[in-house]
Symmetry: C2
Subunit: 125 residues, 2 copies
Amino acid sequence: MEEVRRADNHPTADEIYELVRRRLPRISLGTVYRNLDRLSREGVIRTIEGAGSRRYDGDLEEHWHVRCADCGLISDVKPGADLNLKSGTGFPEGFLVTGWHVEYRGMCGECKEKQGSGARSQESE
Amino acid sequence: MEEVRRADNHPTADEIYELVRRRLPRISLGTVYRNLDRLSREGVIRTIEGAGSRRYDGDLEEHWHVRCADCGLISDVKPGADLNLKSGTGFPEGFLVTGWHVEYRGMCGECKEKQGSGARSQESE
DNA sequence: ATATTAATGAGAATAGTTCCCATTACTGAT
DNA sequence: ATCAGTAATGGGAACTATTCTCATTAATAT
């Protein structure tokens, strides 16, 4: 199981299921979910919740994500070096903060083109 | 519909359904979803995706969230005044960033107590 | 009043995930 | 190697949240 963990980018349980199936053709989706859940509770992998299906991330380095609101693509973003995210204020009484995550939203180049209806193109950054 | 938008904290579609029902007893859940979706696409409300069900937030002021990993409670956190979140780096080519969101994770006071006194140390539930 | 368009209720359909349980695999002691 | 006890698995049913469909109703403009 753990082999797959570090395999890909941000696979869904289904994608992982397909991957693992290549080596263990008799594995069931339930088992994949169970183990993914276990690994994430053990802190070996992270989960990315969000629109659509849960995704799993084997990269434990602190990093953030950017998600295309249109196609759902998720890419990694390096945290700015100067950030001290603990600076949020107004936490509820007694709350123990164990982590945080930043997610950018927007639109990836591809979807931007698609949306610029007609055969418009031309992108720059 | 829009009346409800600013009503509560971070209700789910179901909770909103129950709320609206009090005034419009014949409304259907489908309609609630439809209008919630519309409002959020129009930018009148925000959505909070995450573990469990989608939640809606009528507060458009920039603010962040903190979520209890145990019970799922979501509270608001004021952004630290000094943050410039644009500082993330490594965005994919051509990506247009339209927003971002910070979510802290941890455990609320209540769940902390439950876990502490329950004699369970590492088990998750 | 009528034609056109938009929104609705009701429920079916779908997607993603969790749950159940009989079977299988693993473990350690004999 | 055998057996008992425990843990993990496959298969599928059950569940939850959300979306979709479509006949009906409301709204709007003419």
